[in-house]
Amino acid sequence: MDFALTEAQEAVRDNITRICTQFDDAYWRKADREVRFPHELHAAMAEGGWLGICMPVEYGGAGLGITEAAIMMQAIAQSGAGMSGASAIHMNIFGLNPVVVFGTPEQKARMLPPLIAGQEKACFGVTEPDAGLDTTAIKTRAERHGDRYIVHGQKIWTSTAQVADKILLLARTTPADQVAKKTEGLSLFYTTLDRAKVEVRHIDKMGRAAVDSNQVFFDGLEIPLEDRIGPEGQGFRTILHGMNPERILIAAEAIGLGLCALERARRYATERRVFGRPIGQNQSIQHPLAECWMELQAASLMTMNAAWAYDTGRDAGALANTAKYLAAEAGFKSCTQAVMTHGGMGYAQEFHVERYLRESLIPRIAPVSRELVLCHIAERVLGLPKSY
């Protein structure tokens, strides 16, 4: 077993870290306060060809794996960009995997290069107000009318829809009562987000204000036939191809955020003097930080293990879920401990850790809840009866 990064993986980490030095703490604090999308980071990543890290070489990508993408996303989050930086490009990195796997050569040639070049941004429309994790219960309808589909319905938690040009959309093409299994009758589309037929409503939220989350209302959006990805009715199967990579990447982002918070806490504990000595000399301060480091390391190994399984074609479901669970918890704990280490200053925005803490809730909640991860492990790994 070789745990060392390859030369290419080190190059990914080092170059991303260097690019991110252009975007300092003040940049991210301002983006959060002003609810402003980090276009400059997105542009820098596009310019360097990084958005295509795991896209096929023939369409302008680098043809690397989810392992390298995870290293990249961790480095972005760890730079101080946190989830604000990671989420700004997250969807563009792995989201079009269904197009890579199920798209026709014509679709790949049309859809992938503009995304990789940063000329188009994409968002992801799956979750609905009445169908969160119960994906097959979605109600958004795409009705076939000759050579096009017409969409009516509603999505929620669609990140980056304010700035996106394209949407990867899951909609029901056959009503649920007319299919044998509820996983059937759903279709996947990658199409232009035509704002004349789509209303995007911003959701004010706890953290990561820089990257918008939205409610999206579809009122007669027309989708040409050639924008459907894969066979009609097989959209659920198609979209599953993006789920494990997403969990692996979000795990890496949570670890990056946790390490970033831990480094701030370490620095503060070294510099801050009370009773004539640095507070980091007290075991009550240093032991929790040591614990955070260990838990982040363990989660990191799990994440790399899951990425390796995915990249080598192994079953990555349980590993990716476990990585996402452990990384989210370790990241959250580390951010919490960073605030506590700073004491009152941790509550002040000037010290940044409160922003990290607000962002660290995201990987705990999305893209799948802790509870459903536990259900997955109980059912699929331990063989216990399905509970829901």
């Binding site: 290419a8 190059a11 170059n15 295509g52």
Partner: protein
């Protein structure tokens, strides 16, 4: 015109260096290593000259342990065309490096060699000048601007008290100062391409150079710790202290 760019593998500039416990040098085991920042400026300048159509080929050379190939790879990702690794576990000092580079220059016949003005590890600032002397070429050291015009090279140099502009006849040696340019970030496609570019490995013996060290490091020690200062209550007290204690006025 071919351009030769020597690149040195040094402790990364972000790393806080630590002196080895036996005082023979600084700790490099398990420490992050990178390309000397001044050499990075050299690579960038060469790449810009190639983009302007002045240079036709850029050769990155590194001298030292096998891991120096990684430093060459970084230069290749920035835009160098091929690499030469002079592999040696010996302590390569400036004169030995200059002799090895001369041997490579004799073979490759570059029109220009761009070196960093110094390496951030030993701060010798010697190799470029020695190489110019060994080759008998013109040299423009501490360059902050560089223009090639036919067979001439105009170099703006940062000297005490201002800027000096000199015109050199090619072939030449240039050493880079900090303000010559701002090196680019390697793009992912170029990092991928760099993995396929060739790196040739040679040994000092094959180049007929004796690399035996001529300098001996007697000891390496940390600089003395800075003592805490004192706060003064008034200007009068400050002046008094400057006179009687610091004795600077």
């Amino acid at each position: 015109m071919k351009i030769l760019v020597p690149v040195k593998r040094v402790v990364d500039y972000n790393v806080k260096v630590r002196v080895k416990s036996d005082g023979t040098g600084v700790e490099t085991a398990g420490v992050k290593m990178s390309m000397n920042p001044f050499d990075e400026i050299g690579v960038e300048e060469a790449v810009r000259l190639k983009e302007k159509g002045v240079a036709t080929e850029i050769i990155a050379v590194s001298l030292g342990v096998a891991a120096c190939a990684e430093t060459i790879r970084t230069a290749l990702a920035m835009g160098a065309d091929r690499g030469i690794l002079v592999e040696s576990d010996a302590d390569l000092q400036p004169l030995a490096v200059a002799k090895l580079l001369k041997a490579i220059a004799d073979k490759e016949q570059p029109g220009l060699i761009i070196l960093g003005k110094q390496a951030i590890d030993d701060d010798m600032s010697a190799t470029g000048q020695m190489l110019a002397a060994l080759l008998g070429w013109s040299q423009g050291t501490f360059a902050s601007e560089l223009t090639v015009d036919g067979g001439n090279l105009t170099v703006k140099r940062e000297v005490d008290g201002g800027m000096e502009t000199i015109v050199l006849t090619l072939p030449s040696i240039v050493t880079t100062d900090l303000r010559l340019n701002e090196p680019r970030y390697a793009s992912l496609p170029n990092i991928m391409k760099a993995r396929k570019k060739p790196i040739e490995t040679v040994k000092p013996e094959e180049l007929g150079v004796d690399v035996t060290p001529r300098l001996t490091v007697v000891s390496v020690a940390e600089p003395p710790k800075r003592q805490a200062g004192v706060k003064v209550g008034s200007v009068a007290e400050l002046v008094a202290k400057l006179k009687t204690e610091a004795k600077v006025i």
